[in-house]
């Protein structure tokens, strides 16, 4: 630190800037890591609920339309499988998004393992 005094103030400012940038990057990386670990539990629960609630919505919608139009059981029969398909679709989308996020994170800093 003794040679710091010899440098011009703009040099020292530049150095400070570099140090700040490094610190900020490290800070950001730390944040992301804790986020990744914390949301694993959340992600698992999200998948489960997304899968089930889509079926519930399909059944509910079918039952409601049947009740409204008096066409029992046709809308229920059509919309329940659609609900199941929507559930699978939800989960696939979620998995794809999660995969993309993870890949982007790895690209950003290849030295950091998952």
């Amino acid at each position: 630190m003794a040679d710091d005094r010899d440098k011009s103030s703009s040099d020292r400012l530049g150095e400070l800037d570099k140090r700040l940038k490094r610190a900020r990057k490290a800070d950001l990386r730390g944040d992301q890591q804790t986020n990744g670990r914390g949301t694993a539990l959340g992600l698992g629960f999200r998948i489960a609920v997304d899968l089930v609630s889509a079926v519930a919505v399909g059944v509910g919608l079918g039952y409601f339309l049947d009740w409204l139009l008096g066409t029992s059981p046709w809308f229920l029969l059509i919309l329940m499988p659609c609900g199941m398909a929507a559930g699978i679709l939800n989960v696939m989308r979620l998995a794809k998004a999660e995969e993309a996020r993870r890949l982007a994170e790895q690209d950003k800093d290849p030295d950091e393992g998952p």
Binding site: G38, T39, V49, V57, G83
Partner: protein
């Protein structure tokens, strides 16, 4: 924390176990009862314990952000407020980008309110507002309706393209549009059920295991007690995580409405 939950469990057990033996009533904590009965033309609009804890949560958040934020060098309380602000600000920048800036107050309020409700629910003898599906569903539904209106305002009728996947033969379209619409309608359901189920399951578990501590007595009660301590920690994590997940998903839905790409 754990021991206080334990005594509460003992009380409920004593109340209901009149015929001897151990009766656990873990759902007792979720009962809503009116504190100030109000009747608006046949409509029950009483001020209940749920209302009370919502008011307390709102006041707690307001107090945290209003009274803690004066100094240039932050104290502990101010740090909490600033951390929360930065947390949500970063989250929104990551998920939505600069376009999401105008919606920051909404997301921040939502996050802080749910977080306060969840955390205050961890205080023994308190009432966990978010463990009732009607409250989480009301919040999720307002997010859902708001986001849908926003989507139509931004993109007009073109917002309906969200339900039409690209590169699909015309024959398949009716089926796929129905599936897409159901998938879209799933959002408020999954959003509310996730929060409600997590909070209710966690608090029920706490109560059940607290009753085990009392039931097994001094000899065998130590094992469930140790579990309770660990589980209470986990519950704090869940309380935070679910508020975070609610905020993240609201951001994702907002992003779909603003940027529309899939």
């Amino acid at each position: 924390m754990a021991s206080e939950e334990g005594t509460h469990g003992a009380e409920t057990a004593a109340e209901h176990g009149a015929g001897g033996g151990l009766a656990i009533d873990p759902m007792h904590q979720f009962e809503v009862h009116p504190l100030i009965p109000i009747n608006l033309g046949g409509l029950d609009a009483s001020f209940t314990n749920a209302s009370l804890w919502m008011v307390i949560s709102a006041l707690a958040v307001s107090a945290l952000l209003l009274f803690g934020s004066k100094k240039l060098v932050p104290g502990r309380l101010q740090s909490v407020g600033e951390l929360a602000y930065e947390f949500i600000s970063n989250l929104m920048r990551d998920v939505i980008g600069e376009k999401g800036r105008p919606f920051f107050p909404f997301i921040f309020t939502l996050f802080m309110f749910i977080l306060a409700c969840n955390m205050l629910g961890m205080v023994p003898y308190s009432f966990t507002v978010t463990s009732h599906i009607i409250i989480t569903f009301a919040m999720a539904l307002s997010v859902f309706i708001g986001v849908t209106i926003l989507g139509f305002m931004k993109h007009g009728i073109g917002f309906l393209k969200l339900f039409v996947p690209s590169g699909i033969p015309v024959v398949m379209l009716p089926l796929l549009v129905v599936i897409e619409v159901i998938s879209y309608l799933t959002r408020p359901v999954s959003l509310s059920v996730r929060l409600f189920a997590n909070m209710m399951a966690g608090h029920t578990m706490l109560k059940v295991f607290a009753a085990f501590v009392v039931g097994l007595g001094v000899v065998g009660g130590w094992m469930p007690l140790a579990f309770m301590v660990a589980f209470t920690g986990l519950e704090f994590l869940v309380a935070f995580l679910q508020a975070y997940v609610f905020a993240v998903l609201t951001c994702i839905y907002l992003n779909d409405a603003l940027n529309m790409h899939h």
